[in-house]
Amino acid sequence: MSAIVATSSPGAVTDDTLVAAHGLGKSYPKVFRPRDRLRALGRLLLGSDIADSVPVVREVDLRVRRGESLGLIGENGAGKSTLLKLLTGVLTPSAGTVEVHGRVGALLELGAGFHPEYTGRDNIAMSAALYGLTGEEMRERLPQIVEFADIGRYIDEPVKHYSSGMVVRLGFAIVAALKADLLITDEVLAVGDESFQKKCVRWIEDYLDDGGTLILVSHSMYHIQKLCRQACWLHEGVIAAAGDVFEVTQAYLAFHERKLAGTAPVRDTIAAQGLEFHLLDLSVNGVAQETPLFLDRGDNLRVRARVRSRDGRAPVVAFGIVRADGSAVYGVSSEMDGVLPFAESENVYIAEIEFANLALLPGAYAIRAHPLDSEGVRLFDTLERGIVVRGHSREFGIVRLDHVWHQTPSPTAAAQDTRLLRATNP
């Protein structure tokens, strides 16, 4: 069962958690024909769930504490807006729970909640009521809102006459006046002009400095990195990565670079199944996911590929590591090392390799696996998984080569030096 628990008194919370989501999911029912609606109605009235649905957000666990700032990034359709709507109670989760403590100010969509026929002032009053402000609080803050919105005489005109920038100004002004414990904004700031964007960013910075809490969705990594200290990357409805804002945004950008550069091979799953050898799956450190896995330098990297062999012969399996831009780092095959993949069943072979004490410098890389025929001549299939090596380093290059600094010249080196000197100065 799903539930939204909302308490409006922040005093009731003992720890500083403002938002907590557990196993949060939202799916939409598949409705093709009018008859499906009737069936859904019947099922819901009888208390059972709708059978056929498409998940948009799955298994999201999230916790935002007071004073934190979280950036939410991801491609179009990754479920960011849906997640925000679940957190703000606009949508009801189909799985999991959301707990929200304190007053939430949300700027989700352009002009959400505004009625086009009414004036700016009327809409301010309505929005204030929707946010739960009393009439008195509203009157008190009205001048402040009008001043922040700064849209002049338009405040007394119907909202239908507003430009989209004015709508955002009004919306942000209302949210700013709320003195919310938690501010949630979707990609709406981008509509405002340069000066208003700056004004908003400055306001958000002041708000964060005063201990405010923020969840921001943006496609602008600049805004995300400027305003947020944590980031969460949503990919196809699940959290692909969460943590420090720089690590997550870098991984996200690298993911896109790889996609753009076309180095990630486009794999036709159906066609692959017709091959003599094809990859069933590829897991990195036990995780088989499309989005990158985060590692620290010096971690162990264990890659495991399952290969289906059409006629049951054992394949040769090659593994390789490439950098995000496609340049090769290292590659090796089972045949080179004289190893045989072990048979899981008659037609399925498993090859597993471990790179201990990973020497890769921080950055984004891809692991590739290819099955080859038993002779190691023909290459059949390719699967790729991203990894991100975390950390900060000022070293150059791709890998950290083992090295020792000699702080006193060793005798042989000194001898060499003198020889060199002699060679150049006869």
């Binding site: 799903s2 939409y28 109605l41 703000t88 309505m126």
Partner: protein
């Protein structure tokens, strides 16, 4: 609770404004329309069909308060139910974007209709009293209590229909046909006594038929409605309201999936 009431106040005001937005006479229309309706029915009933209120040998004009006591409760009820039926669908834009308690939307729509027609009812009763008709104006507060009970009944249907309409869009179309039928199946424009004996019992299945009859007994001394009928009306109104609300709450979390 407090914030919900503030929201209801906002939505009721908006609902009343919305209807007459841009019209010059504004909410005067709300009072004019039923008056015009009353004038037409009064004329046709009194002079064309030569109808008299039952058990009374009064002037042709006596039909006017009789009709008014049927039409105002019916208008309030029918309008509340029909307007509420589509309120969730009409506010799809709001529901998908802002966290608004959906029950507030239905409640506000139904409440707006009852406020409007409740006020109109008082006005017409006072006007008829001043015009010298034998209307018991002292009973007006009790009549308003009956209106409040009728509001509960309307609210129940409103919740039920608003929720079902989200899933089955045919409902509002069907209601357009059903509501006039329902009106003529209720003692709105005629009295129970004018029906053939065999059909009178059917009113027992119509939860609305109590209200015009009770209001007429109250305001015009026409006929008697016993305590049993009154108690049944109270129970039915509360039961319908509860049922409607339970169904609404059950479907409420899935509205956004079907809008």
């Amino acid at each position: 609770m407090n914030t919900s009431m503030a929201l209801v106040a906002h939505f009721v005001r908006r609902e009343l404004q919305n209807r007459y937005l841009g019209s010059i006479s504004g909410s005067l229309w709300a009072l004019m329309q039923p008056l015009a309706q009353l004038a037409i029915y009064g004329f046709v009933w009194a002079y064309v069909f030569k109808m008299r209120p039952p058990g009374d040998d009064a002037s042709p004009g006596a039909i006017v308060p009789f009709l008014a006591l049927g039409m105002w409760p019916w208008n309030a009820f029918a309008e509340a139910v029909t307007r509420s039926t589509t309120v969730i669908q009409d506010n799809a834009g709001l529901i998908g974007k802002v966290a608004v308690p959906r029950a507030v939307l239905v409640f506000s729509t139904a409440a707006a209709s009852f406020l409007l027609h409740g006020f109109g009812f008082c006005a017409i009763m006072v006007a008829l009293g001043l015009a010298g008709m034998s209307v018991h104006l002292l009973m007006l507060p009790v009549a308003l209590l009956a209106f409040a009970l009728l509001f509960l009944l309307a609210l129940g249907f409103s919740f039920l229909f608003a929720a079902v309409q989200v899933f089955v869009r045919d409902l509002s179309q069907a209601l357009g046909q059903i509501m006039p039928l329902w009106m003529f199946a209720s003692p709105v424009l005629y009295a129970r006594e004018q029906l053939p004996e065999a059909y009178r019992g059917w009113f027992g299945f119509n939860p609305f038929s109590f209200y015009p009859e009770y209001l007429r007994s109250l305001m015009l001394d026409a006929g008697r409605v016993d305590v049993v009928a009154q108690s049944i009306a109270v129970v039915v109104a509360i039961a319908v309201c509860a049922l409607g609300y339970v169904v609404f709450r059950r479907l409420d979390p899935r509205f956004e999936d079907f809008l």
